[in-house]
């Protein structure tokens, strides 16, 4: 029941916020008036939800898609179980704007493409709802910059800078160690998605960003997004290594006579990427790929990366996911369960 006093209190509480609103520029150069006290953020899609969870978990109103039980094991219990609120980005919105308004977010956060389409979408939603809508760059190489921006937007500058420097450190360390491997000496990798492993990311697609950073993507000659290829084409490419995110494919490919002619299968170089609580390679494409980069570097250049991936992963989970997995949990992750 609304009493006159509570209405008044409510009004008063909003006043100083507006007064102290600060201007922050998002990644597309749009100037946003951010309330002084950001306590509720609506993530427009999975990459935004993940990045926000890592930086300031308590601000996350809910998830674009509810986390499964096995995913929640690797997240803060009260936050990992927050409700499904749909998404308002990309192909079709599953959340509607009235529901969004009912959730009363201080900020809408979208991380991904900063193309004209998404800028206009952001502007339209912001106009309709009056809630500032920030758009950050979701490319892997923009991770550090996006963390700094997100720190500014959510008033968690310190934490944002810390994550940005962790990101830069990780990237620098890994890239320096392989800097003297000539581009044409780097392993040739095929990225396999789908139960038959015949969906792959073409050159420059968001799905293969970490792979293309460290190795040669065999499907990278042509630029684009996801595409289907035939086994024949994969055999012609004859990749040194196959990275997959599909468990069915990973377990079947070794016994599949059609694939056995390829070097990667013969030499046992088919690797299933971990995916708990979020995929390490591209599923969904967010900061979860930072630990994926380590994993990938160790697979591609084992002699240059002698570190124990468990230690690095556990440290990453503690910093970014705010949980410290047990040995058994870490095993499950590294086996690609989930």
């Amino acid at each position: 029941m609304l009493s006159r006093r509570s209405v008044l209190a409510g009004l008063l509480s909003t006043l100083p916020r507006v007064a102290q609103a600060q201007s922050v520029t998002d990644a597309t150069g749009r100037v946003l008036a951010i309330p002084a006290n950001v306590t509720r953020v609506f993530p427009a899609g999975p990459p935004a939800a993940i990045m926000l969870y890592t930086l300031a978990p308590d601000l996350l109103i809910g998830w674009p898609r509810a986390n499964r039980l096995e995913e929640r094991e690797y997240l803060l219990p009260d936050i990992g179980s927050r409700p499904e609120i749909g998404r308002i980005t990309g192909r079709g919105n599953t959340a509607n704007l009235e529901m969004l308004l009912a959730l009363k977010p201080d900020l809408i956060l979208d991380i991904g493409s900063t193309s004209r389409t998404y800028v206009t979408l952001a502007e339209r939603v912001q106009e309709q709802t009056g809630i500032p809508y920030a758009l950050l760059d979701g490319r892997f190489e923009a991770t550090a910059a996006s963390y700094r921006k997100l720190g500014e937007l959510t008033r968690h500058e310190m934490q944002g800078k810390e994550f940005a420097s962790y990101t830069t450190r990780t990237l620098d360390t890994i890239m320096q160690r392989i800097a003297n491997v000539a581009p044409d000496k780097r392993p040739r990798v095929y990225f396999a998605r789908g139960p038959r492993g015949l969906e792959t990311g073409l050159g420059g697609s968001i799905n293969v960003e970490t792979i293309e950073l460290l190795a040669r993507n065999v499907a990278g000659e042509r630029k684009g997004g996801l595409a289907t290829v035939s086994i024949e084409q994969v055999l012609v490419w004859n990749p040194d290594v196959i990275i997959t995110i599909d468990r069915d494919f990973a377990s079947n490919v070794k016994g599949d006579p059609a694939w056995k002619g390829g070097t990667a299968v013969q030499e046992g170089r088919v690797h299933l990427a971990p995916k708990l609580p979020f995929g390490w390679i591209d599923f969904p494409p967010s900061v979860n790929r930072l630990i994926g980069l380590w994993w990938l570097a160790k697979i591609l250049y084992p002699e240059r990366f002698p570190e124990d991936i468990r230690a690095i992963a556990r440290d990453f989970y503690a910093r970014f996911y705010h949980v410290t997995p047990t040995d058994a949990q870490m095993d499950a992750v590294l086996e690609g369960r989930g």
Binding site: L198, S230, L235, N238, P257
Partner: protein, 338 residues
């Protein structure tokens, strides 16, 4: 004895099929020579080892071979079903999906992908979806008693097809945009990229059964092109015949769509082409349609897997090639229809 006039047309169809098989076996991303093929096939007959690299043998026996056979079966099945339906409905614009087999299979398949099932289960879902859709259409058609049962059947097919299309849209909308949605999109565009030996059994059985039934009924089908009363007067049980044709055509269509996804146009265009070669008598039309349909899809699939590193979706190729072809056909041979 085949009438003289049909002989050249039949020979042309057989020539198309032989050329289709030759092209399909010899052209592809992986280099395979005639010598390799003969060596591998001979080694199977002579029970020895072929003197070719393991990868070449795998391509011939496990990749291209099964795919070529699958392309032939799917093309033949769709053409036979299209011919049967065009005769049954006395309408040249009818294709195998007129009674909702494709939309039912599509809904089954996207549901299978949505629930993250394995490939075989997705195919079973698609197959069952096709059968259920056509059964529903048939029950609606039989429940509504009118003087024109065929028209009611077509209308029921249209509305059920639209409803199932909406169902497909809903599942795509709810799907995860990073993994499931691309898989659904690729599936709905039709492809044989993933066809392998284990696909041939579930494809071959229903296609063979349905085709044998249709071929057995080929003489009686001529009567179906007469008005209902005349057919009855000739002592043909039109109701039972209709059920048999619908059941057999649905069986082959559902099996094809379950294996290869949605491939339009073959079932519409090929029957017309066959009719222009051998005339409207089903006794000749049906087998020639099968031969021509198989040959046609062999050529289309050879293009789909050869022109680029990535697969060109079959549904797109058949539409791009089928549309101008159909217009030409309409203009040049419209007089032979009747």
């Amino acid at each position: 004895m085949m009438p003289r006039s049909a002989l050249p047309g039949t020979l042309i169809a057989i020539a198309v099929l032989v050329a289709g098989f030759a092209a399909a076996f010899l052209i592809g991303r992986f280099p395979v020579s005639i010598g390799d093929i003969i060596a591998v096939l001979w080694s199977k007959v002579a029970d020895g080892a072929a003197d070719v690299p393991a990868a070449t043998e795998a391509v011939i026996l496990q990749v291209r071979g099964p795919r070529v056979i699958a392309a032939f079966l799917v093309g033949a099945a769709l053409a036979v079903a299209g011919t049967a339906f065009q005769g049954l409905f006395r309408n040249p614009l009818v294709s195998p999906d007129i009674l909702g087999a494709s939309s039912g299979a599509a809904l089954g398949a996207v549901l299978g992908i949505y629930f993250s099932l394995g490939v075989l289960s997705i195919q079973i879902f698609a197959f069952i979806g096709g059968l259920v859709a056509v059964t529903a259409v048939y029950l609606i058609g039989s429940a509504i008693r009118t003087r024109d049962p065929v028209l009611v059947l077509v209308l029921a097919g249209v509305v059920i097809g639209a409803l199932l299309g909406a169902g497909v849209g809903l599942v795509k909308y709810l799907a995860d945009p990073y993994n499931q949605l691309p898989a659904m999109t690729f599936w709905l565009l039709g492809s044989l990229a993933a066809a392998n030996v284990s696909d041939l059994v579930p494809l071959f059985g229903p296609v063979l059964l349905g085709s044998v039934v249709l071929l057995a009924l080929r003489h009686r089908m001529n009567v179906m092109s007469l008005p209902e009363e005349e057919a009855r007067a000739l002592g043909v049980p039109t109701g039972a015949l209709r059920v048999a044709i619908v059941a057999a055509a649905t069986l082959v269509t559902s099996a094809s769509v379950a294996t290869a996804g949605i491939i339009g146009w073959v079932g519409l265009v090929v029957p017309h082409l066959a009719r222009s070669l051998v005339g409207p008598d089903f006794a000749r039309l049906l087998p020639v349609s099968a031969i021509l349909g198989g040959g046609f899809l062999l050529f289309i699939d050879t293009i789909a897997r050869s022109v680029a590193q990535v697969e060109v979706p079959l549904g797109i190729l058949t539409a791009v090639i089928g549309t101008p072809f159909f217009i030409w056909l309409l203009a040049s041979v419209s007089k032979t229809w009747s």
